[in-house]
Amino acid sequence: DGVDQLPASERTIYEVVDPQVPLGASAYKDFKPKKGPPWKIGYASSYAGNTWRAAALDAVMNDLLPRSKEAGLVSEVVVTQSDLKDAVQIQQMRQMVDDGVDAIIICCSNVTALNQTIEYAYKAGVPVFSFSGYVTSPYAINGAANHAQGGGEMATWLADKIGKKGNVLLVSGIPGFASSDSFDKAAKDALAKYPDITIVGEVAGKWTDQVAQVEVQKFLATNPTEVDGILTQGAQENGVLNAMLQSGRDMVPITLGGEASAACYWRQNPEWIDAGFHIWPPRREMQQMWEIMLRTLEGQGPKVQSFLRPVLPFTIDEVRAAIPEDCDVNSTDFVEPKADGWFPSAIADQYFERPADPWKPVAQ
């Protein structure tokens, strides 16, 4: 199948993976777009309420789109938002297809609900790219960090950090969303290896700091139990941190996913922890998806259905480099890997049948 065609170095990324993530060969190996560039792209997001989505959209509108326009690759991006309503997202995607977009990027949706619509798009010659999460449809191309591997790695880090024993609070994302569930599943599997660690509670932070803060506060207030560490998904760790700060309890290790705000607290309290994780850096992931999309549209022939990236740990030095000493604990930004640090073109080339620089397509 698809992953077998990757070089061994890349295949390791797929070792720990959510079993639902489709790993087959891509349906777009021999794909030719309906027409040549510039293409019209649809971005059907399911939600717009948090900083992470905002950063991702910002990457499209203020970085990727202008650059693509300059390169004559993309003419416009149509953005819709469905407020977490599947039916609405389905309708918006179909509308995009009917209105003649050349590719659709979807964001972090229900893993199965859109499958029929994706097939509909495929039949109309419109490839669908699922960004930062997977869908099970064989006609979609998924691009994301390997959230299962990330969950496992972050859980292991936390377990070590608290001395392999104690009570852990798990702050999940949006239950039911692909990346959220992959993360939780692997994280729980990893923690299960430590008999002295108990998960004392599980709350949903919805990848929104305020929600995470409220939920964790409620948990801490109504559960007098000791909490020794908090395992939280990314894009909400600052809420978790604030909840801890407010509760008046002693600070415990919390997994960091790249929010500049929480990273700032770390920068000011360097003794607190020893690592953070780029688990879903919004701009880099979007860039990854965007480049995969460009390459596919250029007919480079993706080999796999799912492009997974390993979760990258980062150190306080990287944080120091990224944000200043007098950083803002309310920042809405993210600490992200360097532009080519996430999905370098040398590696990307290995994922395509006919690799080329996506930004300088050979004239067709």
Binding site: A48, A54, L57, M61, V78, V79, T80, Q81, S82, D83, L84, K85, D86, A87, V88, I90, Q91, Q92, R94, Q95, V97, D98, D99, N110, V111, T112, A113, L114, N115, Q116, T117, E119, Y120, K123, A124, P175, G176, D181
Partner: protein, 324 residues
């Protein structure tokens, strides 16, 4: 037999003016914004996406018509309940035969509504409270049955969600519901229902079996909720415990947009269908604008304003009638 009088009644029914007017306006606007909707695929998709809402709206229609302010808040979660049990309990256990699946959906919907009707009638608690309770219970139970979206619809249903042909099985579900309604409309039940909703005491003293009428109204609503769940399952080809709840507000809104009165007596399938289609068209129309980042918010605001406007116009039209 849609006789001349029935036609006259429909045209006389001022409560349809606003939804019908809004429908025409929206249709023109959509046509102006792009003809995507008026292609085979566009229509097929529209039917696919709008059917669950139309059917949930139809599901609360008889219940609201039965009066006592019986806005059925539980309808969305009920649809979700049918959806998740279908996927988890039936398909999850290898039961995928179409007859079994359809019987389950329809039967479960009707059974739940029967329970609600019995509580309303015999415990004599206000319907809105009973259905609020149903809403909370089912919203919770749905997540207990299925903690996260997933599963797959039966194979035979997968093609339903393709939405590439106007004459899809989903359309059949819709037509089936209309047929049931059409048959009922031709019987005394329909009149008894309207009279019960309009003035229950009058109906009761005139020898209408108001309790039976109420029970049937609920069960018909339950059957429609079951059909709605089938079309919804076809739409997402899977189970989703979270989406049902959002359908309650949408259905009640569509009902009111369709000119029905939440206090009973006024309303009908035609109005409800128009209301639900209007909701779809509003959302379709707004999606044709590229509002970029704020699209969701503009949609929400515009939707609210259209709702407010059409309610106000409705009041105007209807109060004109009582003056006349």
């Amino acid at each position: 037999m849609m006789s001349a009088t029935a036609f006259r009644q429909v045209t006389q029914d001022r409560s349809l003016f606003v939804p019908a007017g809004l429908f025409l306006v929206l249709l023109c606007a959509v046509a102006f914004r792009g003809q995507g909707l008026f292609t085979n695929n566009g229509l097929a998709g529209a039917i696919l996406v709008a059917t669950p809402l139309i059917l949930t709206t139809l599901a609360i229609t008889p219940i609201v018509m039965a009066g006592r302010g019986a806005v059925d808040l539980s309808v969305g979660p009920l649809m979700g309940f049918v959806n998740v049990t279908l996927i988890t309990w039936l398909v999850g256990n290898g039961i995928t035969h179409p007859v079994a699946v359809i019987a389950w959906a329809v039967g479960l919907g009707a059974a739940f509504q029967l329970v609600q009707a019995l509580v309303i009638i015999y415990v004599r608690v206000a319907p809105i409270i009973v259905t609020l309770s149903g809403f909370l219970v089912l919203s919770g139970v749905n997540l207990m049955v299925m903690s996260r979206p997933g599963g797959v619809a039966p194979d035979w249903m997968l093609s339903w969600g393709a939405g590439t042909s106007v004459f899809s099985p989903v359309l059949l579900l819709l037509l089936g519901a209309f047929a049931i309604w059409g048959v009922l409309r031709g019987t005394m039940f329909y009149r008894n229902l309207r009279m019960t909703g309009a003035d229950e005491r009058m109906a009761y003293t005139s020898g209408v079996q108001v309790d039976v009428v109420r029970i049937i109204a609920h069960m018909v609503g339950g059957v429609f909720a079951g059909l709605a769940a089938l079309s919804y399952t076809a739409l997402i080809s899977s189970g989703d415990p979270t989406q049902g709840s959002t359908y309650t507000l949408q259905a009640v809104t569509a009902l009111v947009l369709g000119g029905a009165s939440l206090s009973g007596g006024r309303g009908g399938a035609l109005g409800s269908t128009l209301g639900a289609i209007n909701m779809f068209l509003i959302s379709y129309l707004l999606s044709t604008f590229n509002f970029g980042t704020v699209s969701g918010f503009v949609t929400q605001m515009a939707f609210g304003l259209i709702l407010v406007g059409s309610l106000l116009v409705n009041v105007f039209v209807i109060s004109r009638r009582t003056v006349a």
